[in-house]
């Protein structure tokens, strides 16, 4: 019985009297480096891959269907679980789509709180992404250093909203808690000691020749291909396309903040290779630090949440909202039929398109490169399957 629907064929090729076979390997759902529960059926000729077919669905939890049962307010904790590494962005996406359905405006201070939480989460998510990428390539130490910094960010967010991973910080109309006293000092102290550590991380692994040899010129995705395959976020920017939802379709208070959008330029290989995607993430961490410092300086006083009725009944209609999550442009679509429960909720995530390109770029790569490719595309399984 074929489990994926892909028939396993044994191809025998004879050349000069030597018959060779293709190997069909199963990089199964239990594997130390597939970033969640993913499965790849790899057809390889020795070390060189011929095909790498992804098999997704192991983490499907019917989150979109659950939205139709729990209602608008009750769905907010579920959005944390859609992508638990960048949970604040999912919260923000759902909050924004409900606000657009009902025409609610979030007060200024609430928007600033949202941006602060989101940018901290972006740093944490990128730290995890680059940490696991270098771990897959073989270096164990930078992974722990990245996670040490992530722990500090989690401590800060724990003070802010009470949880370390599934924050449930934002509500429809704003955020649930204001910044606690002393939060700004702690955050700025953290940022001050974090920036030199990023340089240390670069000294340790990013500039390391062995590492660059592993990731440069591997899995080059051209800008055209990236757009055709619907890649978003650092994957798209790594291929040279300067597109960031925070700048191009500005939402929240991002128009008032000054920051650059790093784009891959092929400094260690060609534009669009794994190294570009990796270095874009490192540079985005620096940009997020800049954004955070500006937010703490510019935050106005005032309420942080707008008045929203307990029984939230937006008028019938639909709304589509885009948020620049750590993994790229995340789309949130909600259809309301006038009752307390949404008629349909649909989430469009960046990892889903990321995994669709794995098969295309891994033709001709080695088995060791497959791991580098998956890690550089920052694929997290819960986002793919929801």
């Amino acid at each position: 019985m074929s489990l994926t629907g892909y028939e396993v064929e044994v191809e025998r090729r004879g050349s000069a009297g030597l018959t060779t076979e293709e190997m069909t390997l199963n990089m199964g759902p239990q594997h130390p480096s597939t970033h969640g529960v993913l499965r790849f059926v790899v057809k390889a000729d020795g070390e060189v891959m011929i095909e790498a077919i992804p098999d997704v669905g192991y983490l499907h939890r019917s989150i979109e269907k659950i939205a139709e049962k729990v209602g608008y307010h009750g769905f907010m904790p579920y959005t944390d679980r859609v992508d638990y590494i960048a949970a604040m962005f999912c919260n923000q996406g759902w909050g924004m789509v409900c606000e657009r359905l009902a025409g609610i405006e979030v007060p200024k201070r609430g928007e600033y709180c949202r941006v602060i939480a989101a940018e901290f989460n972006r740093i944490a998510s990128h730290l995890l992404s680059v940490g696991t990428m270098v771990l897959d390539i073989g270096a164990a130490t930078p992974f722990f250093h990245a996670f040490r910094e992530r722990e500090r960010i989690n401590d800060l967010l724990e003070e802010l909203c009470g949880a370390r991973l599934t924050y449930n910080y934002m509500r429809i109309g704003g955020v649930a808690w204001d910044l606690p006293p002393g939060f700004a000092e702690k955050s700025l102290a953290f940022l001050d000691q974090f920036e030199p550590l990023l340089d240390e991380f670069n000294d340790l692994i990013t500039l390391n020749k062995l590492y660059i040899e592993r990731v440069a010129d591997v899995a080059v995705i051209s800008a055209e291909e990236a757009i055709n395959y619907n890649l978003v976020g650092p994957n798209l920017r790594g291929s040279g396309v300067k597109y960031d939802v925070r700048c191009d379709l500005a939402y929240s208070v991002y128009p008032e903040l000054e920051f650059d959008v790093p784009v891959g330029c092929g400094e260690e290989g060609t534009v669009g290779d794994c190294f570009d995607r990796y270095i874009v993430r490192i540079r985005e961490i620096k940009e997020s630090v800049k954004i955070l410092r500006q937010c703490f300086k510019q935050m106005p006083d005032g309420p942080v949440i707008a008045k929203v009725p307990r029984k939230f009944k937006p008028p019938a209609g639909d709304a589509y909202v885009r948020v620049e999550s750590a993994r790229g442009d995340m789309g949130w679509y909600a259809v309301s039929d006038g009752t307390e429960f949404p008629y349909r909720c649909r989430i469009r995530t960046g990892s889903f398109s990321g995994i669709s390109i794995v098969d295309k770029v891994s033709r001709g790569l080695m088995l060791a490169d497959l791991v580098a490719v998956i890690a550089s595309l920052d694929i997290v399984a819960p986002e793919i399957d929801r």
Binding site: E47, A139, T141, F194, L197, R214, A368, V371
Partner: protein, 395 residues
């Protein structure tokens, strides 16, 4: 060992026993002492030390609960592995699968026959010692291939084949880097090589000439590759192949592979020390034979263990190389440079038959200069990360 036993017989012990029997029993007995007492302990403690060293590099603590400071952790791990169920995968080749760990262990333990502990204590100081060492470590390849194929697991097979290619390829630059030393001493015996060096750093072979200096680094890289250590640990690349050729092993068989990997570090250290760092040579401070032997043992052990620590440190720092990059490094970089080294060293010996004091002094200065610059960079990094060191976790 033979000389030691001869001296004992001359003093009247073992009267009435034929000499060959004394030699046989003495060597085998000492071999058993070495294997059970030294190898098992050192390999076991090395696993513990590696975990603590790794942990400190990674800003965490490592195992520290079992026994004071966790020093009995390796015993606990060993006992746990011994008590595990004996699992042989379905459709695995029954004989190859079961035999592989023991072939690998054989290849590893046999190297200890020629490794000297002190000036007199070595199981057998063969006159082809170094050649014997390189030959016997190649047995490990056979064992790994058996493990890879016999596991009936495609990932193990890939791991086994990678390892075979790796070890066989890196024998060449390793051998080529041993030859400059052989040219200097004219003998292949381990004790002979150590006796040709002196106790002071500028008498060590590493600082003898620029060519031995370069050969030192090439040898270190090659033996790391032979020992399947990062950055060359593809056969057991955790994140790619789960555990490479040892995926299907558990229990005592896994313990054997484990032991060989960590014990091999000591063999690497011993080889580096013997060939390039003066072995057990100590300054002439005492004439008491027992004290001399103890000091020599400590010198040799500490020098070898230093390289064990360096190998662990490198493993914590560097990423893995890919298979084709591994082959490129070996055949396009290390082998040509090792050849040129060998020719250069031969020319050097013709030019300076008794060695050049100036060159030795310069190389010693260069060596210590590199170490000094290294500590300068360490201090730079510490200064830059000073704010982080004062930041403590919230709880």
């Amino acid at each position: 060992m033979q000389g030691f036993l001869d001296r004992l017989m001359a003093q009247g012990y073992f009267a009435g026993v034929p000499a060959e029997v004394v030699y046989a029993i003495g060597m085998v007995g000492f071999g058993l002492v070495v294997v059970l007492g030294f190898i098992l302990t050192v390999a076991g403690v090395t696993t513990f030390v590696e975990r603590r060293v790794w942990a400190r590099i990674q800003s965490r603590v490592g195992p520290n609960r079992v026994g004071p400071q966790g020093i009995l952790q390796w015993l606990a791990d060993g006992i746990k592995l011994v008590m595990k169920e004996d699992v042989v995968p379905h459709d695995a080749d029954p004989r190859l699968f079961r035999l592989a760990p023991y072939v690998v262990t054989m290849g590893f333990v046999a190297t200890f026959v020629v490794i000297p502990f002190t000036g007199q204590l070595v199981i057998a100081d063969m006159n082809v010692g170094i050649l014997y060492l390189t030959a016997v470590t190649a047995l490990v390849v056979v064992g790994i291939l058996m493990a890879g194929w016999g596991s009936n697991n495609k990932w193990s097979l890939i791991g086994g084949i990678r390892s075979a290619a790796q070890i066989v390829s890196y024998e060449i630059p390793a051998g080529l880097s041993i030859f400059p030393v052989v040219l200097l001493t004219g003998t292949l015996s381990m004790q002979g090589t150590i006796q040709a060096q002196g106790w002071a750093p500028y008498h060590w072979f590493v600082f003898n000439s620029p060519f031995t200096f370069a050969a030192f680094f090439i040898l270190f890289i090659s033996i790391l590759a032979e020992g399947n250590r990062t950055p060359f640990d593809l056969p057991e690349a955790e994140t790619e192949l789960v555990a490479g050729f040892v995926t299907e092993y558990s229990g005592v068989r896994y313990l054997m592979f484990f032991l060989v990997e960590w014990g091999n570090l000591y063999v690497i250290g011993a080889l580096m020390t013997t060939l390039y760092l003066g072995g057990w040579q100590i300054p002439p401070v005492t004439s008491n034979a027992v004290v001399q032997n103890v000091l020599q043992f400590l010198t040799f052990f500490l020098k070898s263990y230093f390289w064990v620590l360096v190998a662990m440190w490198i493993r914590a720092t560097l990423p893995r190389v890919r298979v084709d990059q591994l082959m490129t490094t070996c055949w396009k970089y290390l082998v040509p440079i090792a050849f040129l080294n060998l020719i250069g060293q031969a020319v050097w010996i013709v030019l300076f038959p008794d060695g050049s004091r100036l060159a030795q002094a310069l190389m010693t200065l260069l060596g210590f200069g590199i170490i000094g610059y290294f500590f300068y960079r360490v201090v730079f990094h510490l200064r830059r990360a000073r704010p982080q060191m004062q930041f403590s976790p919230l709880s």
